[in-house]
Amino acid sequence: MTAERAYLELAEVVSGYGQIMAIKGVSLRVERGEIVALIGSNGAGKSTTLRTISGLLRPRSGEIWFEGRRIDRAPPHEIVARGVSHAPEGRAIFARMTVMDNLRLGAYRRSGAEVERDIEHVLTLFPRLRERGRQDGGTLSGGEQQMLAIARALMARPRILLLDEPSMGLAPVLVETIFRTVLEINREGTTILLVEQNAAIALQVAHRGYILESGAIALEASAAELRESDAVRRTYLGID
């Protein structure tokens, strides 16, 4: 154990709801510039992990470090201010607000002309959203909502992006579009922690991966190794 911390580091984090602890001592590290995939089945604690990082849940014990500072006691809005942006599970679009308002909310902590520039930027990433700008968020299709969720998360100019199940419920074509954009975002310099049930695609874009089982890390390896691992193939990729 060195004193040196990773870019994002979770150390023995225990967290959950009420008496029920959905994660029971998760430790993981994400280095700057990486895409790290967190893979696990339903109920393994993936979303809980992300919600704990972004401050929606306060860990019962353990530490979370980001850029050398502890963030596990900070409220969510401060964590956002430090550069952690979270596109939550199920997209959580503000259905009664327009697409533009959703994007502006993403840049809530900033203001001025640069916000408009950023909007322009994310709209080039997701051209589909441009057409929908005046529409209420609730009227978008599932894929559009997912795009909006990611776009909105980018509006905070995150240094790390937490993506929760971006592929959920989407047609394969759309999934591909979205993951292509994810890669692009990463190339622009944003670190990404990606939670996915669809391990195949997650491991294609990720550099490294963690397997989460019943609230604990079962395996850690590079994406390539995980893709080859028998256990992973059997459980998460389906044997083909």
Partner: protein
């Protein structure tokens, strides 16, 4: 005919008061899914603050015969400040600890706050109605038999002004946007960097400022303040908020005016003793046919 117009104006006046109070209910409900039963008491405290301000002026220097604009403004501001301070304190002490409690717990806590404030004021005033000094020149604009006094015009205009102001605040400002966001989805709003606690406090502040101002102006209109004066407008405004679709800002406005006008017209129609019956029957009917209120969103199943 002229009587109908007069009744309509009467109803619009009290409806405006209901609407302004209803906004506080509906906004707090929006962000917290909680009925702030003490909201009517904020209105009452605003009326008292207004009274004490005007009374102090009168004791100190006497009130001029001309329209004392500054005095009136300061009474309204005093009402707002009092209500806001109280709202912030009550949110901190009585509601915030219950953020994750079963949903009926804050309701009871609010009832406790309401009983507390009402009885404190009863003690302070020795249960006597406090009479406002008359700051508005008596007189009215007359049109045939229709007569609209200056203070009524002021009240009418001010309620509309407040409603517009609030509308702009909610729709056009960043804080307003964060209130809408928190109302819709508290956690996601937090993920956007919205300080949820501060937004909730802000919601209380805005609602209380409106209620406090309404209380002070209403006090000038009816020229009395009593400890129990918040109760009936509170219930009516709550009804108005539900009528419009609770959680909906335009709904609360529409509901307030609708209720006020209905009450007023039914006084003529059916009899004053039945006006509340009419109001509640109407409420039931509206909700039977539109269970989510006039302006509410039907998808809101959790409410």
């Amino acid at each position: 005919m002229e009587q109908w117009i007069q009744l309509f104006i009467d109803g619009t006046t009290i409806g405006g008061v209901y609407a302004v109070i209803a906004l506080g209910y509906t906004m707090v409900y929006g962000v917290l899914r909680m009925i702030n039963f003490a909201h009517g008491e904020l209105f009452m405290m605003g009326a008292f603050a207004g009274f004490y301000t005007l009374d102090a002026y009168q004791q100190h220097s006497g009130l001029n015969d001309s329209l004392p604009v500054f005095t009136i403004a300061s009474a309204i501001v005093a009402g707002m400040i009092t209500a806001v301070v109280l709202a912030v304190v009550m949110e901190r002490i009585a509601y915030r600890p219950l953020r994750h409690a079963p949903r009926l717990a804050p309701l009871i806590s609010a009832i406790g706050v309401s009983i507390f404030l009402r009885n404190v004021m009863l003690r302070v005033t020795n249960a006597e109605a406090q009479v406002y000094p008359r700051v508005f020149p008596r007189g009215a604009i007359e049109w045939g038999d229709v007569s609209v006094s200056y203070i009524r015009i002021f009240l009418l205009v001010l309620s509309v002004f407040f409603l517009v102001l609030l509308w702009l605040f909610i729709e056009r400002t960043k804080m307003g946007m964060s209130i809408r966001a928190v109302a819709e989805d508290r956690d996601t709003a937090a993920l956007m960097g919205v300080n949820v606690d501060r937004t909730i406090v802000m919601t209380f502040v805005v609602g209380a400022a409106l209620a406090g101002a309404a209380g002070a102006v209403y006090g000038m209109f009816v020229t009395t303040a009593t400890a129990g004066m918040g109760f009936i407008p509170g219930i009516k405004a709550f009804t108005a908020a539900v009528l419009g679709g609770i959680g909906s800002v335009p709904g609360a406005m529409a509901g307030g005016y609708f209720l006020g006008i209905t009450e007023s017209l039914s006084t003529k129609f059916i009899g004053a003793q039945y006006k509340d019956v009419v109001a509640f029957v109407l409420l039931v009917l509206v909700l039977i046919f539109r269970p989510w209120g006039i302006f509410g969103k039907r998808e809101d199943k959790r409410a």
